[in-house]
Every structure is written in structure tokens, then in C-alpha cells.
Symmetry: D5
Subunit: 141 residues, 10 copies
Amino acid sequence: MLFAKKKEKNLSFETIAKALGREEVAVAALFYGQAKASEEDIKNLAKVLDISEQTLLSTEMTGMPDRGHSMEMPPKDPLIYRLYEVVQNYGQAYKAIMNEKFGDGIMSAITFSTKVEKETDEKGDWCKITLRGKWLPYSRF
Amino acid sequence: MLFAKKKEKNLSFETIAKALGREEVAVAALFYGQAKASEEDIKNLAKVLDISEQTLLSTEMTGMPDRGHSMEMPPKDPLIYRLYEVVQNYGQAYKAIMNEKFGDGIMSAITFSTKVEKETDEKGDWCKITLRGKWLPYSRF
Amino acid sequence: MLFAKKKEKNLSFETIAKALGREEVAVAALFYGQAKASEEDIKNLAKVLDISEQTLLSTEMTGMPDRGHSMEMPPKDPLIYRLYEVVQNYGQAYKAIMNEKFGDGIMSAITFSTKVEKETDEKGDWCKITLRGKWLPYSRF
Amino acid sequence: MLFAKKKEKNLSFETIAKALGREEVAVAALFYGQAKASEEDIKNLAKVLDISEQTLLSTEMTGMPDRGHSMEMPPKDPLIYRLYEVVQNYGQAYKAIMNEKFGDGIMSAITFSTKVEKETDEKGDWCKITLRGKWLPYSRF
Amino acid sequence: MLFAKKKEKNLSFETIAKALGREEVAVAALFYGQAKASEEDIKNLAKVLDISEQTLLSTEMTGMPDRGHSMEMPPKDPLIYRLYEVVQNYGQAYKAIMNEKFGDGIMSAITFSTKVEKETDEKGDWCKITLRGKWLPYSRF
Amino acid sequence: MLFAKKKEKNLSFETIAKALGREEVAVAALFYGQAKASEEDIKNLAKVLDISEQTLLSTEMTGMPDRGHSMEMPPKDPLIYRLYEVVQNYGQAYKAIMNEKFGDGIMSAITFSTKVEKETDEKGDWCKITLRGKWLPYSRF
Amino acid sequence: MLFAKKKEKNLSFETIAKALGREEVAVAALFYGQAKASEEDIKNLAKVLDISEQTLLSTEMTGMPDRGHSMEMPPKDPLIYRLYEVVQNYGQAYKAIMNEKFGDGIMSAITFSTKVEKETDEKGDWCKITLRGKWLPYSRF
Amino acid sequence: MLFAKKKEKNLSFETIAKALGREEVAVAALFYGQAKASEEDIKNLAKVLDISEQTLLSTEMTGMPDRGHSMEMPPKDPLIYRLYEVVQNYGQAYKAIMNEKFGDGIMSAITFSTKVEKETDEKGDWCKITLRGKWLPYSRF
Amino acid sequence: MLFAKKKEKNLSFETIAKALGREEVAVAALFYGQAKASEEDIKNLAKVLDISEQTLLSTEMTGMPDRGHSMEMPPKDPLIYRLYEVVQNYGQAYKAIMNEKFGDGIMSAITFSTKVEKETDEKGDWCKITLRGKWLPYSRF
Amino acid sequence: MLFAKKKEKNLSFETIAKALGREEVAVAALFYGQAKASEEDIKNLAKVLDISEQTLLSTEMTGMPDRGHSMEMPPKDPLIYRLYEVVQNYGQAYKAIMNEKFGDGIMSAITFSTKVEKETDEKGDWCKITLRGKWLPYSRF
């Protein structure tokens, strides 16, 4: 429904993200039911997609998101698999570097934001993904 | 052995990375046998770790790396799991955004680099991971 | 739908592939939703299958393909299992040979083409599959 | 042991393969215990590696190979995973094309040969893998 | 549909198999979509089941069978599990005996036939399954 | 140990089986610890292998066999996989035929025997496996 | 349908079991399609449930039961998991005791009956499950 | 060690169980490290096996048992698989009957005992397993 | 249906829990079909949700709950995964502490209650989960 | 080593926890390598266990803990399984209640503490586990 409307009005995630004042990845996550829309998001989405707020409020977008549910792991899609492979190959290296820089803890995936950027040079196009999360040290108890 | 030497000389990955002219994550990956050392790396490592080049050449560091082998998926380690969770939750959103920006293809995990940075503001410390890969469009055949 | 039309008009993948100027495997992949059709493909398919372009454009053929999704691994189908078995039995040997010939890297499955050929000699029929991918050396970072 | 000897004498699989009159992939498979050496192979290997035939005869190379045993599926190694991905993405397409060309049956992975070739053009290096197997139609019973 | 017709006409697989000049197991496999019917099979089936050839031709029986698809492994059904258990317990012993009798190779499951027979003696009924496949030696390459 | 002795004395399973008055598969199963040796078997094995009965009695051959333990499922070995595939493809057909012939029950894998035979005709060698088990109807309770 | 009828007429499995002259567990198994009803069972069920025999004959109850199919393992239901846990914890102990009492063989799950009883003492209620199966020694072959 | 001693002194679990005043299954569970020995058990075991109490106290028998650890599920051993199969086939039926008899709850596998008995009649030997556990109704909260 | 009614009347689980005299978690479990409603619960639910008791009695809420069925493990939802992670990381520590405090046994998950509380201090909000279960020592048998 | 020393000195986790000023669960987690010891912990542990600080510093206790690694999921140990079962049965209910109380977010398992308490009443002993974690709302981005 959301996807159909987006296609019908020929809107990119970039345009919608600007209208919502949010990152493109966050908006795509909303469309896939992997994030929760705030009231303000609903208002803005209603405008940009030309759907009534009432209709949007009745979708699962405003409820309790069932995150991760639609993703089969390991991912079969080659694009998503490459990200999975990065975790598989560099996971331990990331951990070692983070422990050296921050001590014993984790990078939060909740107090967290992420974005995708396109860069172009003489060798072609490059895709840059940034993950930024709050560092959480283990509590001492 | 490498880890022991690193501990003995009290070297951080940051220091070693500078000595090698490489990213910290890449160096940690070398230590975990997830990447291949070039001849130049061997020379520099020998110097900074105070090991003979001969000894380093006989390690698996210069052979064919068995990437991903030591990582159990899904990862049980909480830090690495958080990265896995990001792929699980945002994988489809990343794919949608990348397809919009680049067309049908993938971000390479081979023609690829990654780094970890620490940022601090009034809310505390933040961990920033950057993934940057060549965009590869599907060949038409 | 596509399969029904193909059957109705009694067209082989060979014929359709010629009409599209593409490999038979690529065309079959289009039919199974494992590849994305270009605008030109749509035009040619519309002609050869006698379907309106409009109808084809509304199929998932022109969207973001959900590659690999319909395949259960390990494959239960005996024909596909034999290919899986080749990877299982010769995977390490392929890796050793490729590392010897090219250094540390991978054969791309994206900048990639593949075809199937039939050969006949006095012993009977032989099936020849060719996989050809760009060699991607690991980036140094 | 075989690998150590090969390294010591600085022999490539290409050289060994020529000495044995076999394909490089087949020789690497022998080294990994995924294929059985014939008496002639043993003689030739003994010569080229400078090991006594007796020693080679006592290895598992001449016994009943335990094929596929050392490979974890899905493969974690990126190079081998790409081959697995080809089966996952194009498996159904291969099947459709083969059925069209040959009827109901399979391509044998036993009456079978395979090789790896390197090709270079202005875009860089390409890796070409050929799989060639006897076509086996299902028996009617 | 086929099963319904078979029940309605109160036909055993034995009767149908005789009408088709085939083994009972092969006929049951046809009914489960695990084998492909020849034109002659279609003619004979049409007669014995009293269905029009046209109807049979539109079933998946004449297409590309999706073998093995409907079977969950390990099988939960006790009867089928017992066969699975035979492979699990005696697999290595079969392999050792076959290697001794034939050399390095496999018994084909494609150039293959199988049947089930009932035998009765003073201890009760016995079920005898025969598997007969072409021996395929590994190609030397 | 048993295998070493067998190789040293250059004995085939066929020869040993004759000396024990048992099937070759059963003898190979003994060697793999998948079956239990009777006292008589021990005596005969001691003779044919030229090992003391005492030594044989101290092996696990006379204890409680840990059946199936050494077999990974699905089997990676191509020969054993073919048998697994037969169960996967024909399991339901076998069940249907057995139910028709015998009613509701199973073929025992315990009150059971099996053998492997070699047959040769103008097309080459054939491998014939026979499974024969007591039919056990479900108890009514 | 059967369950609805049972609820409508407010019948316990105990009552139905008495009407059929069978154990309660067997009757519940019939209701779940895990056992096959005899003609006599059909007659009695028709009476006690007030359904026509014709209707019952058209259910899957009289066909070839697809045993075990509806049960996910390990069981998520706490009651059924406790039974699974008993097998997990005491399986080896059962095996050791049975081998000591009976020799090398198994307890049949086909020539088999089972029942559930309630016992009450000052400590509360106890549930007693009895499994009774024919002992089957391994055939010598 | 325990098993060796038991074999050396040619003791059955039956004899040891009597010496300990416990069930045979419980004693076998002690031997497999699936249960905890009380001080009294240690005294009695020391006597019957002729081992010093000190030695027994240093085994894991007196520690925190790691229950279920050594059992792979689904069990590959045919004897233990039959018990697993009973849970798979009759699990839902047991649940239905217990809910009818007791209400909403479970049979405890902790406040629990079990035994194995041998019965013989004209049809042969029968194995009877009894499971008896406290009924635990779900707490209302 | 229950969720719709709850939303329509804008009731929190807290309000419903008070009306039923039960814990909020227990009430949510009722809504998800993970617990069984007593007759009194039905009466109170009917009142607070304004549904007829008859309607509620026809739901699965009063039947035999199919506990755990709807939960995929490991949980993909980040909130539920964190609880899973606590079991994964602290499971052995809990076991060691409980064995020290109570001896050999388990904490019942049946004679059990649980609740969720919110606490707020200067650092923000805290979530407190309490699990309280009867200690069950292993029976001696 | 730590466990041996603890046993030798007959120390409970309770005593050690008091000496360290920490929770018993945290101390047991240290012993299992699931948490990181601070310098202060090392000093106190050295004192209470009578081990040199140097020795403790060379253990993995002060390194980067490999959390969760030693736990197989689903847990086979009955005590730990009960906790897993609580997550499986009540996970959705916890999520619903937390979302109601806190909004969209998670309870941290890092900024987190947990403890085990024993309570006794006329019905026997009760085990109470408390989990307390910081509430983390999803970042808006």
C-alpha cells in the first residue's frame, strides 16, 4: 500500500526522507515495518503520499514494530549477504578495536543511527554506509 | 603469538596500524587471520613487533586466509551480535536505498574498506563504523 | 503467467534468448524473478511473448529482484544438488588454484556471466556450464 | 605434509598438474583428500615432490576419499561462497535450460571434469570456470 | 485429483503399474510428482483412470518434476525414517563394500530402478526393497 | 586397528565375510562399530585377522554399539548422498506401495538384513542393494 | 470437526476410549491424525460422536496417517518438552539398562502400547505414563 | 573409570542399584554424569565398586551435573530414537489426555522417577518403561 | 479480536490486569494465547472489554494453550533478544549460584510468577523484571 | 583453576561476592569467563582466593571476555532451559507490557544488573531472579 502509493506518485525515498526530516534508511525501515512512526511522521507522510492520516494510523506503522521478522538469516539476497559477510569476516576485528578504544562494552544498535551515501571518483561509484551508536560500557554489579 | 608479542610490548592496534600505514580494523583482521599480509606489511610488522621476518613468513598470515572461519553465526558475543542485528533489521532498508541510488547491483565487500572511530559529546562516547565498497552493477549477459 | 505464455506459444528459452540478445540462463533467471529486466528486455519480451509492455512493467520483473529467495539449501532437486556438490567437493581446490593464478581475492558473481552448452560425442551427451566472473583482489586499507 | 613439500620445493599446482598430466583442480583436490590418486599419479607425484612412493602410498590419498567432509555449508569463505551463491541464484534457471536442451535428467558430477582459466582484457582479469558432465536421463522403470 | 480418481475407481498401484508396464514405485512417484510421465504413460493413465489425456497433460506430471521437495528431512514418518536410519547406520559399510567391489565411484540414483516386494514365511511378512543403479567411476581429469 | 590388520593381510571384506558366515555389509558395519560382534564372530575374526581373541574382546566391537554416530546427515559423501537422495525422492512412493501391500505399519530396520551385489551387462556394471525387513503392523491399543 | 463434535457433546477422551475399547492416548492420537482407525473404530466413533460413518470414512482417519508431521522438534510446548527432556537426560541410561536386560536390540515403537494414569497421594497428584514395546533383537546377517 | 571398574568386577546395574537402594536407570544416569550422587550413594558405590570414597568424591559425580550435554538431538542411536519418536508421534495425544485428567499444567521431569522392566509372554520379550512425575498446575498470577 | 477491542476501548494492560486481579504479564500472555483463562477471568474480561462471555468462551483462551508456538528462537525482535542474551550469557552463572543456594534442582517455570516494573532515577528509566519460581529438588529414585 | 582454588578453600560465591563488593551472579560470571574483572576485583580475588595478582592477570579474566561462547542454545541443562522457556513463553507478553510502560525501545542487557535470592515460606523454597536494565528508547534519525 505504502509502496504502491510511493510508486504511483513516483517518489524516491530521498524525497520522502526530506519531507519527514529523517534519514532515507529510517524511512525505508518505516515502509518495511521495521521502525515506528511518530505522530509527526504520520502527518508528514500523509501529506507527501497523499493518504489520510486516519489510514496511516490504522496501519501497523504506528504499533509495536516486529523488527527483523521478515529477514531470513543468513540472507540469500546477494546485496544483504555482503553486509552479513562483513560482520562474519571483520566482527572479531571490530570487537578488538572497540575494546581498545572504549574498554569493555558494546556499540548500541538502539541509541543508533545509520545512513547510506553515494560517492563517485574516476574508478566508478562507491557506496558508503555509516553506523553510529552510543557506546555502552558493561555495568559493574 | 602475535597477540602475546603485542601484549608484551604493550602496543595498541592504533600504533601498529600507523607503523603499517593501514587501518586499525585491517590490522586486527591480520592478527585474527582474516586478511593477508603483503611483503611490506611483514617488514613493518617485524619491526614494530620485534619478530624476525622469517618467523612472520612462516605464519598463516602470508598464506591463503581462511576468512570467516572462526565466527559462529548468529554471533553469541553481544558486541558482534549488535552488528548482526543491524543487518537483520535494516538489511531490506539498505537494499531499497541502494537500489534507488545506484540501480540493480551490490556494494562490494572485497573492493572495500572499513574503519572505526570514537566520537565524544556531552551525552557520552559514540562509536562510528564506516563501510565503503565499490558499487558493482549486475552484468548483462 | 510468463511461463503460461511461453508454453502457449510453444517458445523455447533459446528462441526467447535470441530475441532478447541474451544468454538462455539469463532469460530463465528473468522468468524466475532472479534478475532484473532492462527496458529493452521488456520491449523484446513483449514482442516475442505477445504481451503488452504495460503488463510486463507491472510484474516484479522490473523491480528489485529478491534473488535466491525461492531456493532451499541444500537443494533437494537432484539436478541442482549436483551443482551444490561440485562446490562442496571442489570448493577448496578452486580456491587454491585461483589464489595461485590471481592472488588474494574472489571471482565476482555480479560482474559475471554464465551459459549452458550441449555437446555430443560417441559416449553420449555432455552438459557444459561456463562461469566467468571478474577477478576482484581484496582492497588494501 | 604434501603442502609443506610443495611449498619447500616452490612448486605451483600448474607445474604439478603438468607432471601428472591432469587438471590443476584435480591435483588440488588430491592434495585436499577430495580425490583418489591412481598408481600412475603416485609415481609422478613422488618424482615431482621428491617423496618416496612408499610414503605417498601410506597417506589417505590412495584410500577411499572422504569427499566433501572438510567443507562447512554454507561456506564462510567469500571466494567459495560466491560459487555457492551462483547455485542459489541460478540453480532453477540452469535446471530449466538443461531440461529444455536434454529432457528429464541431470548433469553428472562423477562422470565429470572441471577446470579454471585466467583471461585478461582491458577491464582487468577474469576467472573462467568450466564444468563438464555426462548427461544422465532418468531411467524408465 | 489423481488420488481421488484412483480411490473412486478402487484401483491399486499394482493394477495401474501393470497397465503402464512400469514398477509400482515408479507409478506412486508419478502420483506424488516425483517423476515425469512419458507420452505413453499419459495415454495409459488416461485409459486406466478414465481421465482425458488433455487433463493429464495439463497437470505437472508432464512438466519438470520438483523432486524431493515435499519431503522433510530427517523424515518424521516412522516408515520413511526407518529407510533413513538404514542410510545413517549402514552408509559407511555400503561405501566400503562398493569401493571394494567397484573401485572409486558411486551407484547412480538416476540410471536407476527400484521395486518393493512382499514375501511371507512362517515368521510373518517381510518387505524387500531392491535398489539397482549403474556404477559410475569418477572421471580422471 | 582392524582396518590396519585387514590392509596388512590384504583381506577383502568378501573373504572376511565368508570366514564369518555373514554378509559383507554386516562385516563392514562391525569394522565401523555399527554392529555388535557375537562370541562366534570374535573367534572367527581372531583367526582370519590373526589377532588374539583377548584383544578383540577389549575393543568396542563387543560392547553396546553407538550406531549412526559417525554419520553426518545429510551425508556429504557423494556415494552415501545418493542413497539419502533415494529416500528423499522415493520415500513417499515406498510408503504408499507398502501401505497398499501390507496395511498400516513399517518395515523393520532391526529385524532386517541387507546386501550389495555386482551385476555386469553390456552397458557396464550395476550395483544392486537389497533391503529386507520384517513387516511390523501398528499394535492396536 | 472431530474436536468440535466432541466438545459439542461434552465427551471426554475417557468416555470415547471406553466406547471404542481402546486406550485414551490411542483415541487422542486418532483425533490428531497420528493413528489409523479400523472399521470397527469407525462404527463406534460414529455412534458415540453421532456422525455418519460415511462422513468419518471420508476423513483422513482411515487413510495412511502422516505420523509426527504436526510436531515441531524440539517441542516448544512445556508439557511435551518435559517428555523430550526425559529422553535427552535419561536416553543413555535407558539404553544401558535395556542392553543389560535384553542384549543388543531396541524396544519397538510400533508393536507398542502406551497409557496415562492419574495417581493421588498426600503430596498431590502424580502422572504416570507407561510405554510398553516388543523387544526386537538385531538380526544376524 | 566407573565403567571400567564395573566391567572388571563384572557387576550389572541391577546389582549396583540394589546395593544403593535405587532404581537401575538412576544408577546408569549417575554413571553417565546425568545425576548427582548423594553422600550415601558415594559410600555404597565405594563399597560395591571397591574404589575409595576419596576417588569418587573427586569425580564429577558429586558436582553439578551437566545434564543432557552428551546427547545429540535427534538421537542417531536407533534405541533412543524410538523413544524420541514416541514423543514426536504421541506428544499431542499425551497433552490432550493429561489436560483432560489434570487441567492446565505439566508432568514434572524433576519431581520424577522412572524405571525399566522386562516382561515375557508367549510372543517374546517386552520392555516396559514407566515415567512418574508430580503434576504441576500453572500458577495463577 | 481481543487486541482490537482493547484498542477500541483504549484500555491498557494495567487497567485490565487490575480488573482481573492479575499481573500485567499474565494478562498479556492471555491475549497472546500463552496462558489459560479461568472462568473468573472470563467474567472479568467480558466486563472490562465489553464482550459477551459466550464469545470469549468460544476463543482458544479457554482451551489448551499452545505455549511458545508463536516465538521463533533465537528471537529476532531486539527487545526479546536481550532477554535471550541474558540467558545465554548468565545461564551458567545462575546455575552455579542456585546450586550453591539450593542444591541440585531447578527453579520451576510452572509454579512460577513474573512481573515487570518501571523505576525512574536521575539517570533515566529502568525496567525491572522479576521471575519467581518454586525450587524443585531432583527426586531421589 | 579458579574453581579448583575455590573448592580447595571451600569458599562459596556468596563469600567471594562479599569480598569483592559485587553480586554473586557477577562473580560466577567472572569465573566462567563471561565478564571482565576490574583491577580492584583482581586485588580482592587474589586476597580471598590466595592466588598472586600476577597469576590472575595472566588469565583471560582481565582480557576481552568471549561472552556466551560456552552456551549451547537451546540449553540442554534443565535449570537453564527453564529460563529459556520463560523467554519463549512470555517474551511477547514482556514486550507488550514494556511497550505500554515505556514506549518503543528495549531493556538494556549491558547497562544491566541481575541477582538471585532465596525465599522460604510454608510451601517450601522459592528462587527469585531480578533483572534490571536501563530503558533505551530507539533513536530518531
